[in-house]
């Protein structure tokens, strides 16, 4: 599914009729301000927050924080291409193994792009 909003915390919270205070309590995130700041993108969610959101709503990080996910993915893909290029010409077994991994990363990214464009 394609996502338009940078974050869907507010959407899922309201879908289940939760207040910011209640969600903060469920997430163990302190007060409602912590939720509000993530909803308005004043602050990026940390790993604990992302995992807790998946536990509560059952939505994976790419569905809950699509903008953050894309940013991280873009950065990782840049590094993947760099490493791929540095392996050019190398025929060692270790290099082959790494190429397998990187091919998998590129394939998954392509699949993801194809599904989001539908």
């Amino acid at each position: 599914m394609h996502h338009k909003l940078p974050s869907y915390i507010r959407t899922h919270r309201r879908r289940w009729a939760l207040t910011q205070k209640e969600l903060a309590h469920l997430l163990g995130a302190g007060g409602r301000k912590q939720v509000s700041r993530r909803e308005t993108r004043e602050r990026q969610p940390n790993l604990q927050f992302v995992i807790a959101c998946q536990v509560i709503f059952g939505v994976p990080p790419d569905g809950m924080f699509p903008e953050l996910y894309s940013e991280v993915e873009e950065g990782v893909m840049r590094q993947v291409r760099e490493l791929y290029q540095s392996l050019d010409g190398s025929t060692s077994k270790k290099a082959q193994r790494k190429r397998e991994l990187l091919n998998g990363v590129l394939r998954r990214a392509k699949e993801r792009t194809n599904t989001t464009d539908v």
């Binding site: 599914m1 394609h2 996502h3 338009k4 909003l5 507010r10 959407t11 309201r14 879908r15």
Partner: protein
Amino acid sequence: MKNHDTVLAVYASWSGLSYVAFEGPHILVDWGSKASRGPNKNVECLKGFTKIVEMLRPTAIVIDSCGAANVHRSKRICRLNRSLIRWSASKGIKVYCYSRDEVRDTFADTGAFNKDQIAAEVAKRLPELEPRRPRERKPWMNEHPNMGLFDAAALGFTYYRLFPKGRVRRTRRA
């Protein structure tokens, strides 16, 4: 139009401005009301509207049509609708206006004709809104402020009914 474009349906009423944002005919992204009081209701509504648009970044805005025949809306609301259209157009966002008749036609096959029946049908399709559905209005009661939310959602459904395959329709003057 793609299904995943954000469509913002807004409905102005005596109590302020209600909005419902969709990412598809059955995918609700956000909803709410901006209550306004006092002599500068339209200014407050417009301020609230700009905030909502900046937050949701919609590709299309749906508003009820004040210009159609047999439409009885107050002058203030018609003025507000015109301001919303002008502001949206200045930001390059497409605006679509639908009359009450077009909204009724959307729900005609379900037997829903009046506002309460349409609100019940909307709540059936979008269970997220069910907790906010007002109880049936009696003749001596004012319209509940939450009813605007269901009117906005009904406008959203009308948009999806009239644009199932990306047909572009000319925006009419509200």
